[in-house]
Amino acid sequence: MSNLHLTRLQIEQLRQFRQPYVLNDLTLGLNIFSGPNEAGKSTLVRAIRAAFFERHRSTSVEDLRPWGDSAACPTVEIDFNFNGQSCQLIKSFFTKKRCNLRVGNQAMEGVDAEDYLANLFGFAFAGKGVSKAEHWGIPGLLWVEQGSGQDLDVSHASDHLRTALGSQMQGDVANSLAATGGDELLARLQAQRNELLTQAGNPRADYAKVGEQVDQLQEELNGLEQQINLYQQQVDELALLRQQHLADERDKPWDTLDVQLREAQGKQVELDTLKQRLNADRSRLAQLIQTETLLQRQLNGFETQEKAARDREQESQRAQSQLEAAASAVEIAKQQAAQVRQRTQAAREALQVARQKSLRDTLIVERNTAAEAAEKLQQSLENAKGEEIKLLKLRANAAAKQITKREVTKLVEHDQAAREAHIKLQAVATRVRLELVDGVQVNAVSSGKSEKLTGQSELLLHSETFLALPGVGSMRISPGGEDLSELDRQHREKAQTLLNELQRLGVADVAAAQQRLHDFNDLVGQIKLAEQLLNSFAPDGLAELQAAIDTALGKTRQSQDALERLPAPSEQPALALETAELEQESAEAAEKTNSDDARETELAYATAQSRAEHAAMELTTTKAYLADPNRAEMQRQCQQDLAGNRVEQSVLQERIDDANAQLEQANPDIVAQDIERLKLSYQRIQEDHKKRHETVLLLQNTLELAGAKGLEEQQQEVSGDLSRAKKRQREFARRAAALKLLCEMLEAKRNATLQRLQAPLLQRVKHYLQLLFPGSSIELDLGLAPKKLIRRLASGQTEVGNIGALSFGAREQLHLISRFAYADLLAAAGKPTLLILDDALVHSDESRLAQMKRVIFDSAQRHQILLFTCHPNVWRDVGVSVRSIGL
């Protein structure tokens, strides 16, 4: 139960309360005051706050003065019990500035009283002017002004809360947790860290700069070192080159080359001379070889001539003997030819005889045969003529009786039809039987025909018939019925047809026609027979037959004539023709052969004769040539030349071999290469020398320029700067690492401590929170203000939300809960706790308000609560009576 209990409040000359106004019998726990707007609820609250927060000497509390009353002395009297002691505070402003405080038996006045209260309640005074929120401390937290329940600024009370929280801890634990001025210290260290490091922990500001500096200097130093290295290399190079140059100047290596070159060139000249002589020798030798060939050929010519002479001698003799042989052959051939001619003559004559006899025999046979044939043909002709006459007669008969079987058949049909028509007519015709007395003649005229009827007669009338009955008159009979006339017409028609046909055929009746057909067929048979006979005599006709007869007669005559023209048969017996012909052919062949042989023999003779003459002539010529004395001289000269030639050749060959050997040994190509090589070397070595000298001068110049730069001094400087920068970087790094570690450790420790400190407060918050949001919890910030609400949703999920983002009503509810929790905490720490709620929870809905009433009721079990409202009805269910406020 609270250790503070306001029992009575009296105000006077304060705003609208010009007269004393007293609130008596304030109870422990909840007190509810209601009144309409302007009734003075806020004035009462203001009065309490003024009594505590404002210095009695303050002139900045004009708002307390009743309107227009400059002489007023606003006075507040508060009676209260604290820790069992009865206390009274009386404070008045302006005209009677005073502050009296009685605590039990102890009385205090003025500033002492005010400071005592401030210390006791945990607030401060404004140095100047009206008291503001930052001075209010714990009461600022617990006394909620109208319309500010949704806001909560714990900062001005957090030290008090911390102290209260610290006092909750037991002994050493409390000591170990509380760190005096820890936050300020941490802030300073963090500031130092942030000077060196970014949030991400990378170097910044000077620390970063020195890093860049280090890199830059390092780069610069590397550059310088490279330059120095290059410089030193160039110095070494210069020394080397200079040494080489001097050595060359001294040793003159090109001189050696020059000597070698000259030697090689001399050698080359020598070899060239040798080569020229060799070439001359070679061409001379070639010439000699050519001459040798010519000479040899000439000598060979001489020899050939001699041999030819010998050959011609022999040839001439051979030709002569051949000529003789040919002459005897010619004689023999002539004899043989005479014999053959005789035989041929005989054979020819015999053949003539044989041929004549053969011809005559043939002609006789031909003549006889032709004559017989002519006779036989004559007989046939006569027979044929007889047959032909018969045939002509038969044909004439046949032509007269020509009728065909078809015509006859047709005629029979017509006859039959006519008969049938007639029978039909007769059957229906009107039968008129006349039995005339003799002499009476009746003329019946029917269809233009008149018939004379006498005696007994019967008429069959087919058509209207007029009967002229002499003496009697006439009688017209018209046969009845249509058929009759039709039948009559048909009958007439058929009868006419039959008649026409009979007339056409030229016969009287059908029987005659049939007879004629029989006759005609008989005649046809006879004609065929006669034709066969005629054909057997003259198959090709009579004319042909006559021609054949003429031909045969002609032949007969011809053969006869030929026979008569033939010479008379010879007496000598004739040989058979074939035999005579064979003899003839054989004799002629022999003659021909003989004739050919004779011709050949004569030709051979002529040839042999010509050859013999030619050979004799040639022999003569050759003999004359060989006998020429110039020729012998020439031959001798040739032989002599040839010998000389050969000697010279062998001398030359020796010289050539010698020169070749020399050239091979000296190898002129290599000598030429040597010259080329030595020339190049000479040139190269001179060039190198010159170039080296130029390089030396260039290097010297380069080094002179580089040396003047003081590179190594620069190097020292840069290296010094670098090492200092590196040192500074290391120092920064160390400091940064230390600060980082320190801040991290302090932050971690502080947070851990805070969490442990907050534990009792959280417990109180939770106590109330269960009434409003069961199952939820609140997270506090470092200033102990509620920060987050963690609610369990119906879905089972957890919702975490910033309290600042909640609705006005919900924020007010949560902040009231926090205040109750603070009050619990402070009360436990022995601090006086009074809660004043001016017009609170007006934005809460009904159900929340109901819950909050339970919260307030619960809190009122431990603290005195003064609740001011303009809605008295709302608060009728919190177990206390609602007191009206008003003048």
Binding site: Y231, R734, L742, K749
Partner: protein, 382 residues
């Protein structure tokens, strides 16, 4: 009676660029002024000649200005300056020497001995046998030829060389530019003036390193001197006298703090630093917070008084004492963090320990600041 001033290793053109920009130019300048002092000394002592045994220049490619300044600095002594090139300024095909000659910067009384050949100074009574380096490094003894070099009788034979005398230090075996220890005897020298070692070292009765006239490194090596060499006559052992020439004193202070009083000793030394001192301070070991604050203050003061003080405390481990911690008045989570950092100091790897240590120092500094503020403002802590 011939008398020589023997010097070497001027290293003109060294810039000390790693030093801060305030001190570096002064130290570079000091090398030139040291030469000026040598010239003055030579004149004052009336020496016959100055022997400069190589490494006159620090590098081949120093600026023309530096070259001219060096030769100008010689003007106070009108007698002969006999110089040979060393390994830093070897007489290469192109070198600082050829450049100096091209610039016309070399005064007539300066004899650049760029070739190994005898130089006769008959009117001065001596012959010079120089062994110039003509390559950056040689592995043969360039003084060999001294043995066979003839000089007129009655003239002193003075050798001038740059390199390492063999047989003195183990690490010089096989080193570049070797010089035989017995060269003066073999070559019948009256004196062999050597360069290369920056500290003065009299190796034998006729064989000595003059060292550099102005120190250029922290290594304690007795540098900053030149040698006056009196040679009464041919064959007489010379009298060698070191003369201080340095403007600045270079030294290195290295201390490992084991007990608290070690820090006091260091602070005493720092207190005593003079304005001509160039100091390299390295402190290792462990130190409490309070002591470290005092030490830092002492270093700050010493930086102001010495010419140059470079400090390396990277090996110094901050180990706050319980008193330190109590003094910081840290409570709550601050106290937790301090405790954890102290633990981390001991448990994590070197890198982590360093960071933790720095963090602890930062936190301590902040807490100390806060204490100072609250103390001055007189506010009472709850």
């Amino acid at each position: 009676m011939p008398k020589f001033l023997h010097t070497a290793d001027w290293q003109i053109g060294r810039l000390f660029a790693t030093f801060d920009s305030e001190h570096a130019p002064l130290l570079a300048e000091a090398r030139i002024t040291a030469v000026e002092r040598l010239a003055a000394l030579a004149t004052a002592q009336g020496v016959t000649a100055v022997l400069v045994a190589g490494d006159v220049f620090d590098a081949q490619t120093v600026s023309d200005r530096t070259v001219r300044r060096l030769f100008n600095a010689l003007s106070a002594f009108a007698g002969p300056w006999l110089m040979i090139p060393g390994n830093h300024d070897a007489a290469l095909a192109e070198s600082v020497w050829t450049r100096a000659q091209r610039l016309g910067a070399v005064p007539a009384n300066v004899h650049l001995c760029l070739m190994p050949e005898v130089r006769l100074f008959p009117e001065l009574g001596f012959a010079l046998l120089p062994a110039p380096l003509t390559q950056r490094h040689t592995y043969g003894d360039l003084t060999d030829w001294f043995d066979t070099a003839g000089t007129p009788a009655g003239m002193l034979r003075i050798g001038l060389a740059h390199g390492s005398v063999q047989g003195i230090l183990a690490e010089d075996i096989d080193s570049a530019n070797p010089i035989a220890m017995d060269r003066p005897d073999c070559a019948r020298l009256d004196y062999l003036a050597l360069g290369d070692w920056h500290g003065t070292k009299i190796v034998g009765p006729k064989l000595a390193y003059s060292g550099t006239p102005e120190p250029d490194r922290f290594k304690a090596n007795d540098s900053g001197q030149a040698l006056l060499v009196d040679i009464p006559a041919v064959g007489i052992v010379p009298k060698i006298t070191p003369v201080a020439t340095a403007q600045f004193r270079w030294r290195s202070i290295a201390v490992e703090l084991q007990v608290e009083s070690d820090a006091d000793l260091v602070m005493d030394q720092l207190q005593a630093l003079q304005s001509n001192e160039v100091v390299d301070l390295t402190i290792t070991g462990r130190i409490s917070l309070a002591l470290r604050n005092r030490l830092s203050a002492a270093i700050g003061r010493a930086e102001a008084s010495a010419r140059h003080l470079q400090t390396d405390l990277s090996g110094l481990q901050l180990v706050p004492s319980d008193d330190d911690i109590a003094g910081l008045q840290a409570d709550g989570y601050l106290a937790d963090v301090i405790r954890e950092l102290r633990t981390a100091n001991a448990t994590t790897d070197a890198e982590g320990a360093n960071v933790a240590q720095d963090a602890l120092a930062l936190l301590a500094a902040e807490l100390s600041n806060r204490l100072a503020l609250t103390t001055t403002s007189g506010r009472v802590q709850p």
